[in-house]
């Protein structure tokens, strides 16, 4: 035993410096594992979507996309996103502004509540709306009397989409605004700018990259959401089907090629989101680098 230990120590000594730069075999193994994993779980399935979608040729692919039910699904998805994203922008800005720039009672409660939609399963989020607005729900009778439909109709889909995307913009903005502090706003205030002018000319321009990033993420989630929307939709073809729901229906009806064709739309959306995300991060990093550079020059001068 002691012999082994001493050998280890003996061997370890000359190698100590090389441990800082990992041995080449370790690097290679890790790289292979990582690439293999990404290929197996991401690249190959993603490629499969397009391969399957185009299996019957481009004409069939186009037909699957332009068929009336598919177009209706696309329209509904765009509508839901077009409502959910602005709602979340307004809410996210308001929430981030109050949390980052003011002190008030219950601030930590609000911060935690914003994250709630991430903690709740989307199915439950959908069910909550069914319980509230459904025919047997709390407000079901009241709504029925006035001939208002929320569940199994477009408003329900919009509500569910807003719910699941709720934290996305706020969560991007809060840390950014907190890091920036409130000195610039106070400076604007002492220079005679009112609250509104301060918001448009100082707060919003400073937060624009965070906001843009939040919007991109929010949009991706709004268009891709399945669970919550599925519960409130009722799957009425051409009426309450969003793209993800339409894909599921086609797939269940063994229209594999059409299902993959429509799915490829969502995949393209994901790729576009990733592209925008890296673009924003790249810009952001450049700004950070410039700031760091200026900082070092401050110390050097």
């Amino acid at each position: 035993m002691s012999g082994t230990a001493s050998t280890l120590v003996h061997v370890a000594q000359p190698h100590r410096r090389r441990t800082l730069a990992d041995p080449p075999w370790l690097k290679r193994t890790l790289l292979v594992v990582a690439i293999g994993f990404v290929a197996l779980f991401l690249v190959i399935p993603l490629g499969a979507v397009f391969v399957e979608a185009l299996r019957g040729g481009f004409r069939l692919y186009w037909a699957a996309l332009t068929e009336p039910d598919a177009l209706a699904a696309v329209r509904l998805t765009l509508l839901a996103a077009a409502i959910a994203v602005p709602c979340n922008v307004v809410f996210g800005l308001a929430a981030a502004w109050t949390i980052a720039k003011f002190d008030f009672r219950g601030k930590s409660v609000l911060t935690t509540l914003i994250d709630l939609p991430f903690a709740v399963s989307p199915v439950i989020a959908g069910l909550v709306y069914v319980l509230m607005f459904g025919a047997q729900g709390w407000m079901g009778e009241w709504l029925a009397d006035r001939d208002l439909r929320i569940i199994f109709a477009t408003p329900g889909i919009v509500l569910a989409t807003v719910f699941v995307t709720f934290p996305l913009v706020a969560r991007e903005l809060i840390p950014l605004m907190q890091a920036q502090g409130r000195d610039e706003e106070l400076a604007a205030l002492t220079l005679g700018a009112g609250g509104w002018k301060t918001f448009w000319r100082v707060t919003l321009p400073n937060a624009k990259w965070g906001l843009f990033y939040g919007v991109v993420l929010c949009n991706a989630r709004a268009m891709g959401e399945f669970g919550a929307v599925s519960v409130v939709s009722g799957h009425i073809r051409g009426e309450t089907n969003t793209i993800p729901l339409h894909v599921e229906i086609l797939y269940n009806e063994y229209q594999t090629q059409a299902a993959f064709a429509v799915a490829s739309l969502l995949t393209l959306l994901a790729l576009l989101t990733m592209l925008l995300k890296s673009l924003i991060e790249w810009r952001h990093r450049r700004a950070l680098l410039a700031a760091a550079h200026a900082e070092t020059r401050t110390f050097a001068s």
Binding site: T190, G192, A193, A291
Partner: protein
């Protein structure tokens, strides 16, 4: 434009930042609010600016802020006519230097707003003033700390404020830039004569730059006066300890206990006998870098450590070695009653300045 603050109270939770502070700043002067961190000086400055509101008390006059006798307590910060320079400058990072300086003029309501041409002239004039002409197109993160500081100052001056308030204006700068900028600010003040208040924790900065120093400690004002007076005639043990190095010696032999303060440069070191008031001491160590040599000594009777500062020339003549026995003559001392004793406990001339060596 004189500034007056009456009896301001401010608490943050359990922490008291200001405990009934009165302040009066003369018109056209450069005044320093000097104190350690947590003494309430920044809070006071922010109350003057209208960025913070004083706590309400039963006294209706409490917390009033007056500019030139006019009550501005209920005037919002943007309309008080103050220029405020933040500790970390708070420049608008998405705007150029030019746009930063122009901000205060360009956000005015349309009827009060100068024309684009007038704004540009004003900004260029200020860029000249802060010696940054040609850098108007840069962004704040492309500037050095000292340059940012000057842009912040120009931005505050652009709206022609009635008073200029600076929060730790040199706090974030390194020593050399700080010294240059200090001198530059002094010259600028002499040109513009805007009533200026600045906050600092650096006593050297306050004494060198200000016409008047307000020393603050634990939410209260300890002393107000011109730098020379505050330094030479400190009103309390806190002030003497805060304004530069000082030796604190217990004077226990008299019936009433008191504490004696002597500045290192007010101590004469003699090898020969120097009268019965002189204090015998032993040399512990001699540091002789710089213009002045610093000698640390151990007092013969009590063993207290005393620091003395002696000019290089004199130090050479004395030729001190560690362990040498010497006599100390205090040229100038300050006497305060010891903690827990009131002033009237002292036999005579409470807390007054005494001449060399009296009754030690």
């Amino acid at each position: 434009m004189s500034i007056e603050v009456r009896h301001a109270w401010k608490r943050f939770g359990t922490f008291t930042a200001l405990a009934g502070v009165n302040l009066s700043v003369p018109s056209g002067r450069l005044t320093a609010l000097l104190g350690p961190s947590g003494s309430g000086k920044t809070t006071l400055l922010r109350i003057i600016a209208g960025l913070e509101s004083p706590d309400a008390t039963s006294d209706p006059d409490s917390g009033k802020v007056l500019f030139h006798g006019e009550d501005v307590s209920n005037v919002p910060a943007g309309r008080r006519g103050v220029g405020f320079v933040f500790q970390h400058y708070a420049l608008f990072r998405h705007l150029t230097v030019f746009e930063n300086i122009a901000f205060g003029l360009s956000v005015r309501p349309r009827r009060d707003r100068p024309t684009t041409r007038q704004i540009a002239d004003r900004v260029n004039e200020l860029l000249d003033l802060i010696q940054l002409s040609g850098l108007g197109g840069r962004y704040p993160d492309q500037l050095s700390g000292g340059q940012r500081q000057r842009v912040a100052l120009a931005r505050a001056l652009a709206v022609q404020p009635r008073v200029l308030l600076l929060d730790e204006p040199f706090g974030a700068l390194d020593a050399r830039v700080r010294k240059d900028l200090r001198r530059w600010l002094r010259t600028l003040h002499e040109r513009l004569h805007v009533t200026t208040v600045f906050v600092t924790h650096d006593q050297e900065e306050a004494l060198e730059l200000a016409d008047e120093v307000v020393v603050m400690n634990q939410a209260r004002v300890e002393q107000v006066g011109p730098p020379q007076e505050v330094y030479d005639r400190p009103a309390s043990p806190f002030v003497i300890e805060f304004l530069g190095n000082v030796n604190r010696l217990e004077r226990g032999r008299t019936a009433a206990k008191s504490v004696l303060y002597v500045r290192p440069h007010d101590i004469d070191i003699r090898r020969e006998f120097a009268g019965e008031h002189a204090v015998p001491a032993r040399v512990l160590h001699v540091f002789s870098a710089g213009n002045y040599g610093r000698v640390s000594l151990s007092r013969g009777d009590t063993g207290d450590t005393i620091e003395a500062e002696v000019p290089r020339q004199q130090l050479r003549e004395l030729n001190l070695r560690d362990g040498d026995r010497v006599n100390l003559v205090f040229r100038h001392v300050r006497l305060f009653p010891a903690e827990g004793f009131r002033e009237e406990d002292l036999p005579s001339e409470p807390s007054a300045s005494r001449d060399a060596g009296s009754g030690i």
